[in-house]
């Protein structure tokens, strides 16, 4: 894929795959979600972002996918300045990211299989190739036998795994997950975190926001803590 090669090329120039420098995010009305946030993530790292709700975790992750734009400062993702990126370029950035949303955003008018197919359909893969990759992704999260099921018929943990399958089907270099374990009980949450760890082990950079400190105590990963928009 030619699009992927430019990504590798640019990461070899800058060692960091994600880099925030002096990032501010102000919402209309004056509320400051992020204040002077600077940090960087190297390729292949697994980073947890913690903090109370409203501390700015979701905002921070949204800036990576250009879902929101920084008010000031620079957000570099794979060597590209996301905060000043042209609108037309954004879809091509997102194709290299695996995004897992807090509200899941599954489509309930189609099967689990079709949900996972969507990122490939959108990028114009042939149906045969897309179907093969979608099944591989479903297999990785252990949902291959549920591919015909409607997402509404899946349990909470299964829905979350479906979201992960959809996020990784494009073989992204970066996985960004917003509170992926929020509504799950401990066993399911552990399984989900374990899944992210296995993707990380094959070289995918992983960013996970959570207010659950169990996996952090268990894995002892790198942790960024947000407190009222400030990086502690």
């Amino acid at each position: 894929m030619p699009a992927n090669s430019y990504l590798h090329c640019s990461t070899s120039l800058a060692t960091d795959i994600i880099s925030f420098s002096q990032v501010f995010k102000r919402y209309p009305g004056g509320y400051e979600a992020l204040k002077d946030v600077s940090f960087s993530v190297e390729p292949g790292e697994m980073v947890f972002i913690t903090g109370h709700s409203g501390a700015g975790k979701t905002t921070l992750l949204k800036l990576i996918g250009a879902i929101e734009r920084a008010s000031s400062g620079t957000v570099l993702v794979a060597g590209q300045n996301v905060s000043s990126m042209r609108r037309r370029a954004i879809p091509f950035l997102r194709r290299h990211l695996g995004l897992i949303f807090q509200d899941q955003k599954l489509l309930y008018d189609r099967s689990a299989f079709d949900n996972v197919m969507l990122p490939l359909v959108v990028t114009g893969h042939s149906w045969r190739d897309a179907a093969r990759r979608a099944r591989a992704a479903l297999d990785k999260v252990g949902l291959l036998d549920r591919e015909r099921a409607n997402p509404i018929a899946l349990s909470g943990g299964e829905q979350q795994r479906l979201c992960i399958a959809r996020a990784v089907v494009n073989r992204p270099n970066i996985l960004v997950a917003d509170e992926p374990t929020a509504s799950l009980d401990a066993d399911y949450a552990d399984a989900i975190i374990e899944m992210f760890r296995s993707f990380n082990q094959v070289g995918v950079t992983v960013l996970i926001s959570t207010h659950d400190d169990r996996p952090i105590r268990k894995l002892n990963p790198r942790v960024l803590t947000l407190h009222r928009g400030n990086l502690a």
Binding site: G65, I67, R88, P91, F92, L93, R94, R95, L99, F101, K105, L107, L118, P119, V122, T123, R166, N170
Partner: protein
Amino acid sequence: MRRFAANPFASLLNAVVIGVALALPLGGYVLLANLQHFARGLVTDAQISVFLAPDASKSDITEIDRRLRGTPGVTRVEFVGREQALAGLKRTPGMAEVVATLPDNPLPDAFVVTLAENEPELARRLEQEIKNLPRVAHVQADSAWVQRVSSLLNFGRTTVVLMAALLSFALVAVTFNTIRLQILTQRGEIELSKLIGATDAYIRRPFFYLGALQGVFGGLAAWVMVELAIFVLNRDLVGLATLYGANAKLQPLGLTDGLAVLAFAAALGWLGTFLSVSRHLHQIEQE
């Protein structure tokens, strides 16, 4: 197409609404074309009456007759002598007594000139030309009738154009609304598609297909409606025509005109989609 088929009833209704909106001006157009055709057959005998001076001699009459026949745009020249005209007048009920009181024949010699075409412009021009011939006392063009028909047709044409313009707006509005509803229904899918790397063009494309397709179906519905109306009207006209011994029949819409209607409807559908998509996808973007 999948979306059109997904909700056949609503899609059909939309096509019918667009069809009715298009059928009105289209029907008007067909009726007008037929009227024009009919009027041409009816008024080809546009005439000019040429009255000669009382002192016109036999040789003057021959000369004028020759000149009239030589004028381009004239198909028939008929001489009506003063005696002949008087005899005709005597035959008119109530006029015989009046004529009897006259000491001598007050009528001039006259020509009735039939024109080749039912053109008010031509009638006016010939009227001027004939007026300048020697020994011609008075020229009366029956172009008033020609002009009246012509301006009536113009009036009809303007009405049809206005109606078409107005109802085109309706078509654009209907499409605008259909696409708006469709965007709202698919809001989740659109938002997600954007988040997983779909380009704007990718998201817009199916809506354009939908809008244009709906326009085509509407145009098709209009075509069918107009043809059906012509079929029904013709059945009545046959009865009417046999009563009057005339041959009146409405001509259906030609293939070229029909295809033009389809293309026009598709273009309007496209326009409605463009307006709707620009507005509503932008709204989704902002939230």
